[in-house]
């Protein structure tokens, strides 16, 4: 019997949630027995090669590529999960949301003291993704089925959620898993 398939992506995040996923220690061996990874930075598979059971999304959407990736995850994954503060609320990157994007770009690429005076230019190569007017949480772009809170969610929380989802158990996040202070 084929194993459940997992895919992951880090959008506008810091990879901290992926680090937390790896932080499950020796349980990672059990996880490999339990599931198969498809498109994910963990195995470096770049494109979906088969239907996926559970997609884990870290980070919100700050540029057009994030939106594209997120939409492809929605299309290819049966269950899609927002993992961590940035995916759920935009997180730290969303601190720019109160500032017009032009001002952000000018500050970073034209006016910052560390910019080479010869080289003042807002990056405009056609191959670069286009930055969005603000950072959007994933559930405003596609339907999200589950939310795992935390910055990052603890390894135990991720473990509990992922094993429950692949085994078809209801998601029961106990208080100690979602208590942060």
């Amino acid at each position: 019997m084929s194993k459940p398939v997992i895919a992951t992506a880090s959008l506008a995040g810091c990879f901290g949630c992926h680090m937390s996923l790896l932080d499950i220690d020796e349980r990672i061996l059990g996880l490999i027995d339990l599931v198969e990874f498809n498109k994910s930075p963990i195995d470096d598979i770049k494109t979906f090669t088969k239907p996926v059971d559970v997609g884990l999304i870290e980070g919100g959407c700050c540029n057009s590529e994030n939106v594209e990736v997120l939409r492809s995850f929605r299309k290819n994954c049966k269950v899609l999960v927002s993992v961590g503060e940035c995916a759920i609320m935009g997180g730290l990157p969303a601190m720019r949301n109160g500032i017009p994007i032009r001002e952000c770009l000018e500050e970073a690429y034209l006016n910052s003291p560390t910019v080479d005076p010869e080289d003042r230019l807002i990056p405009n190569d056609e191959d670069l993704p286009i930055i969005l007017d603000k950072v959007y949480p994933c559930h405003e772009v596609v339907k999200i089925d589950h939310f795992l809170p935390g910055c990052p969610p603890s390894a135990d929380l991720i473990w509990e959620a992922v094993t429950a989802l692949v085994e078809g158990r209801p998601l029961q996040l106990t208080y100690d898993l979602i208590k942060f202070d």
Partner: protein
């Protein structure tokens, strides 16, 4: 000496004077400049952050210039229903600036503000402390022209309202609009009778009489007044206080304005009676900034009462009982109607609610046991002491005794103040006010209930439809979604920001509601609205967040057909996100063509 220094040094070196100093600076300089912040902090031995925190907390204070004169135009739903948009445009055209800005010549600044207690005569505005009612685009232009020519705002008031609004100390164009005079507040009252009667009894007897009368707090929460007084009296302390909450900020309520204008003597007697009952020597009237135009009038009434021996030392012939009243001004913050936030503000701080317990009756104003009562409650208590509990109990319903002042506004022929007995049905009230076609009635303001026609037989009383007094009528052509949106904007604006459920929850509720209003909602979004609304109510720290989801929740309950018609049925998810729109600014800033392969991989 700099101007800031001069102003600041006139005040005592007392941190509780913080708001007074800021108000003085704001009034004379049009804003609170950085130098003034440092100066005030040094003078009162506070941190600059504390001073800046207080300035930014209140609507009527500002760190940036708001013009030599400032127009604060009310942004309540009733103002909008009565033509606010055209009036605002006239202000903007004549001043040559937008709201939130100052005219190029620096003469006039334009600001929006929450309900200023003039819902029966909208659109209204406060200009340099002077109230202008029933504005039209022409009147708005005339105000800006007058200010620009150097006429003080008071010189631009052409006609005065009725009653005490005409008196030399008020001279306001505000109308009382008293439509129905009931037997309690507007019954015949001989000045001084309440205080004289009270001091002839023991304090316990006074409390007992108020308890027997079944008087419940008139501000909205309905706590038994006699019990509150008893709790306060029982606390052992060298000093106790009576604080009158005259910060009616619930949009649509203005009945306390009328009591303060026409019945201040009765109110002050009520405070003295409360003082006698709880054992306080000092009363504080916390007057909302919007009603500052009544202050000179109120001070004069206080002076008169002192002269007649109804206030002051050993009053009304009592050998022992001394009681006097001071007035403290607010500075524009809805949350200060919440009693513990009000106490913080009265002590000169940001008006953030306190943790409870301890309750104000245990540790209130200046940490002393304090009874905080609404204007109407205190005036009613004075009448109960004179006329007796049985007289009062005979009115209203068994559990909601007496009468209630209602502030009726919106789409009706006779907006104004009505003193009615509890138990009145909405239908009867609409009949009195002249609103036969009302589509919806908002009872208790935004934090209350939006009632549909099906509920017009419901009664105004504590067990059915409680209200602090606000009743807003919506006619057949009004869009209920626009009403809800206005109310949610109000709560987002007025949340003090202390607790997350209220600070973030109301923003999320408003966004989700707008998604539904824009036709992008699904059944799942409605479920979210309901679940989130309940969560915000259950987990917020004070009454603001505990009621702020009500505009959404009560309309979902009473107007389900409106929501049904707006959502996209049978669809699992509808995003409001629009990639083409979201990349527009980014493309423009980088000078790129939106060659977004809006990849159709789906």
């Amino acid at each position: 000496m700099t101007q800031e220094k001069e102003i600041v040094l006139q005040h005592p070196k007392d941190p509780s004077a913080l708001l007074d100093v800021i108000r003085d600076v704001q009034t004379r300089l049009g804003h609170v400049p950085e130098e003034a912040v440092s100066r005030i902090a040094a003078h009162l031995k506070l941190s600059e952050a504390e001073v800046r925190g207080a300035v930014t907390f209140y609507h009527f204070f500002s760190l940036t210039p708001r013009g030599a004169s400032t127009v604060y135009l009310n942004d309540s739903i009733t103002s909008r229903m009565n033509g606010r948009t055209a009036v605002a445009r006239a202000f903007e055209e004549e001043a040559d600036c937008r709201f939130g800005e100052v005219s190029p010549d620096g003469r006039v600044g334009l600001s929006s503000t929450s309900c200023i207690g003039m819902n029966d005569q909208e659109p209204s505005a406060i200009v340099d402390g002077v109230v202008f009612t029933k504005l039209s685009p022409d009147k708005a232009r005339a105000i800006v022209r007058g200010l620009r020519d150097g006429t003080p705002a008071s010189g631009l008031v052409a006609e005065f309202g009725d009653g005490a609004n005409q008196s030399s100390l008020v001279r306001a164009m505000v109308s009382n609009n008293i439509r129905k005079r009931g037997p309690v507040l507007f019954g015949p009252h001989e000045p001084g009778a309440a205080v004289r009667k009270a001091v002839s009894m023991t304090p316990e007897q006074v409390i007992d009489e108020v308890k027997k009368a079944g008087l419940l707090g008139r501000g909205g929460a309905g706590f038994p007044t006699g019990l509150k007084w008893e709790f306060c009296r029982r606390e052992k302390a060298p000093e106790r206080y009576v604080v009158c909450n005259a910060d009616e900020g619930e949009p649509g309520t203005f009945k306390d304005r009328v009591v303060l204008t026409e019945l201040p003597g009765l109110l002050f007697e009520g405070m003295a009676v409360a003082g006698y009952a709880v054992g306080a020597r000092t009363g504080v009237l916390y007057l909302r900034s919007e009603y500052a135009y009544l202050r000179a009038h109120l001070e004069a009434v206080l002076a008169g009462l002192r002269k007649e021996g109804i206030l002051g030392k050993r009053i009304a012939g009592s050998p022992k009982f001394s009681f006097d009243i001071v007035i403290k001004s607010g500075a524009g913050a809805y949350i200060c109607g919440e009693e513990s936030a009000l106490l913080e503000s009265a002590e000169g701080k940001r008006g953030e609610p306190r943790d409870r317990p301890p309750f104000p009756v245990q540790a209130g104003y200046l940490d002393r046991p304090t009874t905080v009562n609404n204007v109407e409650t205190l005036a009613t208590a004075a009448r109960i002491v004179v006329e007796g509990a049985a007289w009062f109990k005979a009115m209203g319903t068994p559990k909601s005794a007496g009468t209630k002042l209602l502030s009726v506004s919106g789409d009706c022929a006779r907006p104004g103040v009505y003193e009615v007995e509890y138990g009145l049905s909405i239908a009867e009230l609409l009949d009195m006010a002249g609103a036969p076609e009302a589509k919806a009635v908002q009872v208790g303001g935004p934090s209350g209930t939006c009632v549909s026609k099906a509920g017009y037989q419901r009664k105004i009383c504590f067990s059915d439809l409680p209200t602090g007094g606000s009743v807003i009528v919506f006619g057949p052509d009004r869009d209920i979604f626009e009403v809800v949106e206005n109310f949610m904007e109000f709560f987002v604006e007025e949340s003090c920001g202390w607790c997350t459920p209220c600070r973030a929850g109301n923003v999320l509720l408003k966004k989700k509601f707008e998604k539904v209003a824009h036709g992008k909602g699904t059944e799942g979004d409605l479920r979210d609205l309901e679940a989130w609304g309940k969560l915000v109510k259950a987990t917020s720290r004070c009454g603001l967040g505990q009621t702020s989801p009500n505009p959404i929740l009560t309309t979902m309950q009473n107007f389900p057909e409106l929501y049904e018609a707006r959502i996209q049925k049978g669809r699992d998810f509808v995003p409001e996100f629009d990639l083409a729109a979201a990349i527009q600014d980014g493309c423009a800033a980088a000078n790129r063509r939106p060659a977004c392969k809006e990849a159709d991989h789906e």
